[in-house]
Amino acid sequence: MKLKVNGNEEVVDVSTLADYLALCGLLGKRIAVEHNGEIVPKSAFGATQLEDGDALEIVHAIGGG
């Protein structure tokens, strides 16, 4: 399926958000995820089904003032 992740189109073969994050090596990292504009709590990564055309924003903390 096609996903839009952080503004870029990706074609992946996954069913849940946890699957996708594991594929990227991000599962268990200090990140936060927005799925189609809604925050997904860490506890719900496994239960969040992804569908073709979904948009994800995956963020982390960096230095800033």
């Binding site: 990227c24 990140i31 936060a32 927005e34 504009g37 709590p41 003032g65």
Partner: protein
Amino acid sequence: MITTLQVGSYTLKSRLLVGTGKYKDLAETGEAIAASGADVVTMAVRRTNLGQNPNEPNLLDVISPSQYTLLPNTAGCHTAEDAVRTCRLARELLDGHNLVKLEVISKSRTLYPDVVETLAAAKTLVAEGFEVMVYTSDDPLIAIELERIGCVAVMPLGAPIGSGLGLQNPYNIREILDQLSVPVIVDAGVGTASDATVAMELGCEGVLMNTAIAEAKDPVKMAHAMKLAIESGRLAFEAGRMPRKRYADASSPETGLIE
């Protein structure tokens, strides 16, 4: 000694709040932040670079949320909507921590706060239970309105972000201090230690800075200087300065002189 600073539900020992941007690497960031003695440390929220090595060190490995009060900012957001989304992501990133630094900055070379968008974002964030420390211009009317909305601290600029010009309008800052009950913290514009002291002597509850430390030749030494400057300024404010006089007033007694 110096009184603590209460910001919303947070009691802070240090009145110096520091940023984590512009350092040469994470090691220098950690060392400078430790030297500053700050409790509150700001951070930015950005898209994870998916091509990157996911095991490379993370800011939160150096600035531990158990050791510092992290203050996620909304830097880079130009609309209220983006700022609110960023705060929601930050709250999730930090396991429900609800203290945020709201800044909605104009797309101009001044990086001046967009107060129209800032007011709108502040209303939404307060309604969603965030404790909002808000970056704003030094306009006293906007500062009053931000307090009325429910922000836990109002943070007027001393001078444009990253300019290092020092307090450009101490009269406005003084007016804001007179009008507000929530802490007023100067955010942005400090260039060196004396600038920070000036802000504290005016009666500001604290100073938030990043570039003045990160872009010093020796950031760790400057962080220490800023710690002392903030403490000195606060102590001087609490002690109450002597009145200014136009003419000399001898320090030694003028009686009992030998003849």
